[in-house]
Structure formats: C-alpha cells, structure tokens
C-alpha cells in the first residue's frame, strides 16, 4: 500500500515539475501567441482584447496556478489552432500515434531480438555482418528519405500498399470511433473492408518505425548477449554438456531479459512521442506533429496538454517495466 502511494506521489511530483518547466519555457519563448492569433495588422484594441481573453495579462504565477487547477479538473483548455478542447484533440491524435508506435515496436521486437541473439551467437559470421549493416543503415539513414523511398517503391511503383493517410477517402468515418485506433475499431465493428484498407495504410509507416526500432534493439540485444556468452557460467554450462539451445536461450537470454525490457520500453516510449517526420511524410495525424505545430504557433495549451500525455507515457512505461522486472527477475521481487 505504502509502495503504491509512494509511486503515485512520485508520479505527481514528476508531472508537476514537467508542467512547470514546460509552462515557463512556453512563456519565455520569443513567439507572441497573441500576434499569431490576431495577425500583424491588428489594432491595439483587438490585440489587447485577445490577450485578455487568453488570460495573458495576469501575472505568470497566477497563470500557472489557474492552469494547474484546471488540469486537476480535467480541463486542458482550448487549443488556439484547432478551436477545440485540447483533451478532445489529444483523444484524436494520440490513438493514431499509439497504433503506429505499437505496431512499429512489435515489428522491432519480433525481428530485432532474434537477429541480435543470432548475431551474438554467430559472432563474425555473415549473419552478424548483415545484422550490422541493417543496424548501421537504420542508425544513419534519414527517416524521411527511407520513408519517401518506401512510398515510392511500395506505393508508387509496386502498388502493394496504400499511400499517405490512415485510411482511403472512401473509408473515412465509416466505423464508429471507440478507441480511436482504426485497426481495433474496425475489428470491433466487424468491418473487414475497413480493416484491410487500414492495414494497407499503416503497414509501411509501421515497418519503417519498426525498422528503426529493430536496428536499435538488435544492436543492444547483441551486446547484452555477448557479455553473457563470455561469462564463466556459460562456459560451465557448456562443459556440463547442456545442449547449446538451452545454454543460449535459457541461460544467457534468460539473464538479459531485464535489460532488454528497459531498452524496448525506451524505444517504445520514443515512438509514442510521435515521430514527426514519419507523420509528415505519411500524412499521419499523430501527436508528434500536433505538438510540433502547437509549439511553432505558441499554442501553449496544446503544448502543455501534449507534454502531459507524453510525460504520462514515460511514467507509465517506467512502472510497467518495473513490474516486468519483478516478474522476470526473482531478485527484484
């Protein structure tokens, strides 16, 4: 019980600190949110009216306290850019990112972990070299370039997948939004045609993100595994005559699970922040471009709301990995 309370308290403090920093940065930014609303040629009266209606004429401390009070009541205010409540905006853009990031991470884990293990076991072999090249490309290629190339080849030339956007224009708004994630909503509505279309749209950007996360995960897996494989207990196991499969998967891999969880959680959290460039190239209305747009226009309610969500994601993933540690590592229990 005490532990739960402690965790909750630490979440609250983290979030408050995050909000405070974001809020202050937002206020000292050299962008005038009022000017971005009223335009250059506005009269002073219009400017002042807009400024007052945004509450910007009050002292900054008061502004912050008002903001915190509202957030506690679930009110993130209105976005200047979209003219809607920030909460509603986030409920629209975050599921889009969640869907993409989850699929991307799944691809990254399913391919990256085995690749990393095999590369470590057959160190220096052709498969290790391939894994290295794959990872190197993943690290160094600009994502927009790979994205454009992917679109060009698989959408433009081969026609295997659909182009930018979440679904085709005929499939927009057909399934009722329950989770906001079209893949899940179309399954709930048992509309297989929409599902199929949504898959053909998401598969390319998800593979792209999956590729980047695979590059990272496979490299990390490889180095964790190498460390284990050079340990004495592995030699002992081998000397004992255990089958190589057991040595690798039960002994060595069993010991890197905890480290891997951290790596995967971090990479997942990164994708959940929204990959702005991927979103732009694939016209994917996710939280990354939402926050970026908001930031560029000094739409502080939206920036703060988005920051809270991203912050929460990190905190929750942290807790989740903690729980998983306990599951996989008897010492942590």
């Amino acid at each position: 019980m005490l532990r739960v309370l402690k965790t909750l308290a630490s979440i609250a403090v983290t979030m408050l600190g995050l909000l405070l920093v974001t809020f202050v940065i937002g206020r000292v930014m050299p962008i005038d949110p009022v000017l971005s609303i009223v335009g250059e040629s506005a009269t002073k009266a219009t400017y002042d009216a807009a400024r007052a209606s945004m509450g910007l004429d009050k002292p900054i401390v008061v502004q912050f306290l008002i903001y915190i009070w509202d957030v506690i009541h679930g009110d993130f205010g209105y976005s200047l850019l979209t003219a809607r409540p920030v909460a509603e905006d986030i409920a629209r853009v975050f599921p889009a990112t969640l869907e993409l990031a989850t699929l991307g991470t799944m691809i990254g884990v399913l391919l990256g972990v085995p690749l990393g293990v095999v590369a470590a076991v057959r160190r220096g072999s052709w498969i290790d070299q391939i894994a290295r090249i794959v990872a190197l490309v993943g690290y160094s290629m600009p994502i927009f370039w790979l994205g454009m190339m992917g679109l060009l080849v698989f959408y433009g030339t081969l026609g295997w997948v659909a182009g930018p956007g979440r679904v085709g224009i005929f499939y927009v708004d057909i399934v009722p939004p329950v989770t906001g994630m079209i893949l899940i909503d179309s399954i709930l509505a048992r509309n297989w045609e929409v599902l199929q279309n949504a898959i053909s749209h998401i598969i390319l950007p998800a593979s792209l993100l999956g590729y980047y996360s695979m590059a990272y995960i496979s490299r990390m897996t490889r180095s964790f595994m190498l460390e284990q494989l050079s340990s004495e207990y592995i030699t002992t196991a081998r000397v004992k005559g255990l089958p190589e499969r057991t040595v690798i998967w039960r002994h060595a891999f069993g010991n890197i699970k905890v480290q891997l969880i951290t790596v995967i959680a971090l990479s997942y959290a990164n994708l959940l922040e929204g990959s702005v460039l991927t979103e732009i190239i694939f016209s994917w209305p996710g939280i990354g471009s939402y926050i970026t747009n908001a930031l560029l226009s000094a739409d502080m309610n939206a920036v703060l709301g988005g920051t809270v969500v991203v912050g929460l994601v990190f905190v929750l993933l942290n807790i989740l990995s903690d729980l998983l540690y306990q599951f996989f590592d008897p010492r942590a229990a």
Binding site: P30, V38, A49, L81, G156, L277, P285, N293
Partner: protein, 531 residues
C-alpha cells in the same frame, strides 16, 4: 521539415522516378474532387474571425456574400451575389442592397435582409482580427443598430464619410462579408458569444457547399448544396486532405489518388511537368516581396541613393534562380489582378547607373544594416542584395532574427533597411495603398506602426492626399486610374524597392476543369469544377 530535407526528398524522388517510372492506376470518382493542401493554418471557420488562406478557401465555398467575385471571370471585379442589386445615396454614404429572392440557407431557412444585417453587425460586435476590414468605414459596436439596418428585403449600410463604392463593396467580398444563418447561429449561442464558439467548427451558410467535417491537420470534407441558387455543383463531395510534404503530394497526384496538389515545390513541379495526365497551373497570389529604406538615415534619405538602390537589385537573377516558379518580378505596390494594378517594371540590375547616381548624391562607400527574418527565401534574397550592393561600394550587414524580433525593430523605426513581405488583407487597392503610400503624420509620436510608410519614416511626398482622394472616388474606372498614377509616382520617389509577387503552382489531373484558385483577390472556388 527543413527546406534542405525537402530538397533532398524531392531530388531523391526525382532520381528514383526517373529510374523506375510510375504506373498510374487509381482514379477518384467522377463526382468527387480530392485535393491535397496544407490546411494546418485553419484555426476557425467563423467568417467573422477567419483570416487565413485555407480557412478562406473553406469559407468561400460555404458562405454567400452580398457581393462576390465570379470565379469564371475574376477580372470583372465584384458582382451581385446574395444582393441582387444596390443603389448608392446621393451623399455617397449609404448603400442600399436589395436581397435576391428565393435563396435558402443550407438549413432550409430563407436568406433575408435580417440575416445580412445580423452577419455584418455580428462581425463588428465580435471585433475579431479581420473586423478592421469593416470598421474602417466607421462602423462601431455602438452605432451598428443605426448604420446597418434591414428593412423589408433591403439592407442599408451607412459609412461615416463618403467612400468609393468600389472600396466598400470590394471589402464586403472578403471572408468577413459572409452571410450567416441568424436563426441557426443564435440557436447555438453560449454566454452571449453570438454563436462564435459553435461557428468555429460548424457552418451555417447558403453557398455551394456545406461542411461535413473539419479535422484539424487531417481533412476538410464538403458536401454539395443541392439547393445552391446558381445550380447544384457537379462535384458532390470535395475532400481537402492535409498533406504536408510536397513529395507526398506529388506521389498521390501521380497515382491519381488526388485530383489536385496545391503545395508542390519547384523541384517537384519540374519533375511532373509534361507527365501524361497532369497539368500545372501558375496562379498569381497577393503577397509581395520588397525592401525598404529608413528615411531617418542621412544617406538613404537622398533621392539619388533611393533610386540607386533600386538599380542594385538583381530582379531577374533571383527570379530565375532560387525564386524560380515561386515569385515573379513585380515592382508596384498593388499585386497584379487588383483593381488599378500596373505592370511597369522600369528597374533592373545596373551597377554602372547606380554608381553614377551615388556619385551624383556625393556619397562614397558606406555601410548599412538590414533586418531580415529567418526564412530561407528572404535570407537568399538578402545574400543576393549583399552581393550586388557590394559592387557599388555599399556594405550590407544583416540582422537576422525571428519574425517578432525583426518586426518589433521595424515597427520602432530602428532598422536602416528591411527585407520582407506584405500580403493584402482584403481585395481592394486601399489595403496596400493605405500602408505603402499613406502616412498622414510622420512624427515619432504618431506611432502609426501599422503603416509601412511610417515604419520607414517616409512622408510619402504628397501621395497621402492621393490615397485619401482615391478612397472617396465613386467611379470605379476613375478610381483605378488614380491608383495607376499613384504607383507610377511611387516607383520614382518612394523608399520602397518592390521586387516580386508570389506565384503558386498547382498540379492537377488534366480531367479537372474550371478550378479557379482565386488569384490575388479571393480564395478557391469549387462549384464551377467539372471532371
């Protein structure tokens, strides 16, 4: 995305297309128009508040106005729309509109003079950003119940002094002149906001289209209004998809998944020019690029120096290199397609002539500092100017900053020179004449920060009176002539070096016909479009 990565993406795409070739197989339905555009600037759809390009595009197709531009003949200027006709009182202050009979809002309510009265009063009372377009005629929240009055099927508006009728009517064609459905709007009023919160994301008009949905950064979907008084539009549905990247727009267009791509960069335009099934349209927009010289500066205020500097700009070089396809040479303060616009372009790069003028003014080598905001094309222009100025012994230093930083210095009259852009606020010549060539009080105390002439401490050499005369000239043709004369004088004497006018290049499938983007004076029109 950074301009550099834009460029890389386009080059990569161009290379790859060249190697692989692209089969086109998809096609949008015959009664549907699908457009890719950047629509992230839409912040509201309320015509009393909307003041951005993409918002204007939506509004123009949803709201009728008292007077409007015919998309098939923009050069004709304003003509009747919801007002079938109008008369002007003898003192020139009151315009009485007779409403068109039988027009209905999309809700089914009839369009009446009461709705028009409500819409204009509402715009003035709400006092949002674009309200100055109407309040410049002396309307105030306090006097609207006397100055904007419906009677039967007529609406009278009375300005505080005599204005050119064309000035008033041109201003009413702006987005803010949209006539909203009073009953529908007031049914959604919250806390006395006259329906503002609701109208930000909903619509209540009588135009060719109704709004199905606006999803920020995602799409705007419009449905044809079968009862549109000019006849039901051929395109039953118009979908504007937010596609940020030029290269993505290009791919979608080549594949036939969209009919129109509105934000193609020059590299992508080049790449698809001549491709089968695709046509490229170039459209002039209202934005103007200029430099200006602060007249407080002892050297820059000499007439010969002002002229010399206009000869030190490599107009053609810039137009044909980095501005290719995005800007065209234009040296007058009224954008082409505006009433009274002229296309005189007497200046070109002529270093010898500039040197001669500088010698005549008795100035040797000197140094000035120009403010320029951190935007790629402006910086490139600034660098070109540094180069050409240097050839005549002028060292040009640059102060680079954010829009706000540079603008606040400009407004405080602190810059020697400014390199920047200006876009018209409403489709009447006064919008630019009233800022470039108008400055009734040139003292620092006047603080007329909204006037470009004041920002450069220029007393306008008599043009102020001409601007004042033009806004009250009732005859449209005579008024146009006045602006022409004004601009010729301005070319000679002003401290402004106007350089370019914006061009927008649009790619479309060549089966799309009659798509008019609105030029420099209005927004896009979907209702005449056929496929």
């Amino acid at each position: 995305m950074r301009p550099f990565s834009n460029l890389l993406a386009s080059v990569a795409l161009g290379l790859a297309v060249g190697v692989t070739g692209l089969p086109a197989f998809a096609e949008t339905p015959a009664n549907m128009l699908v457009i890719a555009n950047r629509i992230d600037d839409i912040t509201t759809l309320d015509p009393a508040e909307s003041f951005e390009f993409a918002g204007g595009d939506v509004s123009r197709n949803i709201y009728g106005k008292l007077v409007n531009f015919d998309p098939m003949n923009l050069d004709a200027g304003y003509g009747p729309d919801l007002a079938a006709s109008w008369t002007v009182s003898e003192d020139g202050k009151t315009i009485t509109f007779t409403m068109r009979d039988g027009v209905k809002f999309q809700s089914g309510n009839p369009v009446t003079a009461k709705d028009a009265e409500f819409s204009l009063r509402r715009a003035i009372i709400l006092n949002k950003t674009p309200s100055f377009i109407l309040t410049q005629f002396g309307f105030t929240p306090e006097n609207v119940d006397k100055t904007i009055v419906a009677k039967g099927n007529t609406l009278s508006i009375t300005t505080d002094k005599k204005f050119a009728t064309s000035f008033v009517l041109n201003s009413l064609t702006a987005t803010i002149g949209g006539i909203v459905d009073m009953k529908e709007v007031m049914a959604h009023e919250v806390d006395g906001d006259m329906g503002n919160a609701w109208l930000k994301t909903h619509t209540a008009g009588s135009g060719a289209y109704t709004l199905v949905s606006w999803k920020p950064n995602e799409s705007v979907t419009l449905q044809a209004n079968p009862n549109f008084y000019l006849g039901a539009p051929a395109m039953k549905r118009v979908i504007v998809r937010h596609v940020q990247e030029s290269a993505s727009q290009r791919l979608l267009l080549e594949k036939g998944d969209i009919d129109v791509a509105r934000n193609l960069n020059p590299e992508d335009v080049k790449g698809i020019t001549g491709e089968k099934g695709i046509a490229i349209d170039s459209e002039l927009r209202g934005r103007i690029m200029y430099i200006s010289l602060n007249q407080k500066h002892p050297i820059l205020s000499k007439p010969e120096v002002r002229t010399a500097i206009k000869y030190l700009i490599d107009y053609k070089g810039m137009q044909d290199s980095f501005l290719n396809g995005q800007y065209t040479i234009h040296q007058n303060f009224l954008p082409a397609t505006f009433l009274g616009a002229i296309d005189d372009a007497p200046y070109s790069l002529n270093v010898a002539k500039a040197k001669e003028l500088l010698a005549k003014a008795g100035v040797g080598n000197f140094e000035i500092t120009a403010g320029v905001r951190e935007a790629q094309e402006r910086l490139e222009i600034a660098q070109s100017l540094q180069n050409t100025f240097a050839q005549a012994g002028i060292k040009l230093n640059l102060t680079v900053g954010t829009g706000k930083q540079i603008l606040s210095k400009y407004r405080a009259r602190e810059l020697d020179m400014y390199i920047g852009a200006w876009g018209p606020d409403y489709p009447d010549p006064q919008t630019n004449a009233g800022t470039f060539a108008y400055n009734p009080d040139n003292s620092d105390a006047a603080k007329a920060t909204g006037l470009l002439a004041w920002r450069n401490s220029w007393d306008t050499g008599g043009l102020t009176q001409q601007v004042e005369a033009a806004v009250v000239e009732g005859d449209r043709a005579k008024r146009a002539k006045m602006y022409e004369d004004m601009q010729r004088e301005f070319l000679k004497i002003s401290p402004f070096g106007i350089m370019f006018q914006k061009i927008e290049q649009t790619g479309r499938r060549d089966n799309v016909k009659n798509l008019n983007l609105g030029g420099a004076i209005t927004a896009v029109s979907y209702w005449p479009v056929t496929k």
